[in-house]
């Protein structure tokens, strides 16, 4: 663990080794601007830059990349700027370095207690793409729908299956999520007749998200061996899903209203530099080998060993009903705080993901599609082996047939109104952790009509 003069609690996700990026504001200074987390503090990068302390050659030439309400401008600069910023911040915050530590006026202006800041979406997300990259997850879902012999679709081992998600409804951790209404078919009568009802199969999906740094020009694919240069960093993603709506709508064009009501992300973007010590070999791809545009050399074929966890925390009260209409308030932007007892329902890991992020990027752009700084790619549900390895309730309860038990004595097939879903993720180092913090959201009842 790298030593800092900023206090870092022993169990913190944010030692000096990490330095994840976010965007924050305070009551006194409500303009959102970039920051990094260190222990229980945040360092205001706009203020640090104004103080002349981010003045290496690359960032100096790049201008006011931190005087912005999002990280998009910094993301666009690419690895030389990111490396310089990290080196500068590691130095400024390291134990023994007095520039900031001993300037009490400046220090009080740039270093703020995390408890006093409000976090914002870290980027203006132009496009959001969701993949389906976990073999364990795709296999489980496949067995449920088609049986063990035909679990994986014919294309699954040849390409990272993905689809375009909805960027407008990506919300920050802590934002309440409303249960959607949608078309669902109950029972097995033929012909199928749908009803318009609140989803009765509301699920979480544990995913890893990847923010794109520099993009590519339209028409110019990113080769798989260059794809890592385009990765700015990673967040936790909860891709809330309404399974009953999904089942009826998804043929032939894929999920739509079953997914686009909300996607939650964690506020802190953990960088490849911080995760590098936790790189590990990704699963081999030998049967079949992928096509050359997706093929990675064994040494380059890495994931990270990130321990992922999902808890459900029920509340007695499930909040108010409405929110919309002429007299209603906010429909989805509130923040509930749950007060129940949390039960861990998932323990997974990024390390077994079959298709790596560089492969997803290479495939996404193979036909010429352009990525832009701030675009978000997500992995799809991350499941792994083990008793709690399922990354969503659809798998954990085997389609709703085997409820999971919560510690308060209740059970769940799918989520109930008032449930708070809490995702967390961290890499375990020698005496320290590099983590993501939490991605949480409370499910509100469907809006009144």
């Amino acid at each position: 663990m790298l030593a800092s003069w900023v206090p870092v609690p022993a169990d913190s996700h944010f030692p000096l080794n990490n330095l994840p990026y976010g965007v924050f504001s305070t009551a006194a200074s409500p303009l959102p601007r970039p920051c990094v987390a260190i222990g229980d503090s945040v360092l205001d990068l706009a203020a640090v830059q104004r103080a002349g302390l981010l003045s290496g050659p690359v960032l100096s030439a790049a201008g006011d990349c931190f005087q912005q309400p999002t990280l998009n401008a910094f993301m666009a600069l690419g690895r030389p700027a990111w490396a310089e910023a990290r080196a500068t911040l590691l130095h400024l915050l390291s134990a023994g370095e007095g520039t900031l530590r001993d300037d009490t006026v400046l220090r009080s202006r740039v270093l703020l207690p995390a408890s006093e800041v409000r976090m914002h979406l870290p980027a203006a997300i132009g496009d959001y793409t969701d993949f389906y990259a976990s073999r364990e997850h795709a296999t489980n879902i496949g067995i449920m729908f088609r049986g063990r012999e035909n679990a994986l679709q014919p294309n699954w081992l040849h390409l990272p299956v993905g689809y375009h998600g909805r960027a407008s409804s990506i919300v920050l951790s802590g934002t309440d999520v409303r249960r959607p209404r949608g078309q669902v078919v109950r029972g097995t009568a033929q012909p199928q007749v749908p009803a318009f009802e609140p989803s009765a199969a509301l699920d979480f999906e544990l995913e890893m998200g990847c923010f794109i740094g520099p993009g590519n020009e339209l028409g110019c694919p990113i080769p798989v061996e260059r794809a890592a240069e385009h990765i700015f960093g990673y967040v936790l993603v909860n891709d809330w899903s309404a399974r009953d709506i999904q089942r009826w709508e998804y043929v032939p064009l894929g999920p739509f209203t079953s997914k686009n009501f909300a996607t939650s992300i964690s506020p802190w973007i953990v960088t490849p530099d911080a995760l590098e010590p936790f790189a590990c070999a990704a699963p081999a791809q030998e049967d079949p080998q992928p096509l050359p545009y997706l093929r990675q050399q064994p040494g380059e074929r890495t994931n990270y060993d990130i321990q992922l966890e999902v808890s459900i925390e029920p509340t007695g009260s499930s909040g108010s009903g409405s929110g919309c209409g002429p007299n209603g308030g906010s429909g989805g932007a509130g923040e509930s705080s749950s007060s129940g007892q949390a039960t861990v329902v998932t323990r997974s890991n990024l390390k077994t993901m079959y298709w790596t992020l560089p492969q997803m990027i290479a495939h996404h752009t193979a036909g010429g599609c352009n990525l832009r700084p701030g675009d978000l790619l997500a992995s799809g549900t991350l499941s792994c082996e083990g008793p709690l390895g399922a990354g969503c309730l659809q798998e954990a309860t085997w389609g709703g047939s085997r409820p999971v038990q919560l510690e308060d004595g209740t059970e769940r097939t799918f989520l109930l109104d008032g449930d708070t879903v809490i995702m967390s993720g961290a890499c375990q180092g020698d005496g320290y952790r590099v983590g993501f913090g939490e991605c949480r959201g409370t499910l509100l009842p469907a809006a009144e009509l």
Copy 2:
């Protein structure tokens, strides 16, 4: 036809009745800003606003909505602002009105020959959604894949099937489009083994696009009877599609790289006010009736009678190969001009579309998904009855089995490198037309690897 002091050629798509919105720049004044088209001229709305001539109460209160590089700010204002702007412009440009006409200095500053301007994307498009709303199209595709008895999927008559498209690769009419490479399976051997090749089944899709004005709050659906208030206007859309890539990749999450390499739109946004005289009854929905959240009263259930046409114009030369890589130039942003003979391959119409735009908006937001100003919704391929009624080559050639004949003596199953696809659309009034101009794009060969 409303008379204007600005000359309007007899066959113009842009008489005073139309006043479509766009964004333009000139060589002398390269900052993009909003405009309207009138005859063969464009009226610079930024300059008109600066001259104090867009000073009704709503626009005055709204500030500098035209001093912007996109129309998003104006779109967000909603119908009162749009109505005021239209009334003001109709007055300023009407035959007997001298304010602009007689002020030669001001007139020369605000009214420019269309031939001297460069058009830009009219909006920053946050999210792009594509539907599948034409019954004729869905039926034809269904017959090809599943036979006449099961042509429509079980959900098709119950909801407007749609999916999220890619916003980053939406390009303006006139932008060249590169043929994508992708995974395709040739032949019928089992198990299927894909190759990575340039698509051999590159198709156009004739669609109508709808730009969203005011959005909705996350969690708060837009009722179908209020949905029209959220429509700013319409453009032509060519949703280029690689059928061979699509066939292999689309199960189970829908089209991805087969669509995301490019979508072309026409530069002029035609407003509901301009189209109102051409409103006509949409097809009845009685078997089955849609669910109440999608049900429209018969009088409200309208489309527009817009005659749509697609031509293919071949060229002898098919352009250069590459474009990417260290020494390459632009991959997809160039502009080719074809010089061949155009053949009309499609004559369709918006009027028979089964799911109306208000229904698409109501369904899109039914689960709480938020729309934002500048979002683009497209109809999906618009086919209708008749010998040239197919809105894409997949249908016109029945999956490539019945080539279409071009006037230069060649034939097409799918598009060849160098082909220019030209879409146009217009409503026929009594002695005038309200039209969209053209949406064109030339297909370049796949980039070299």
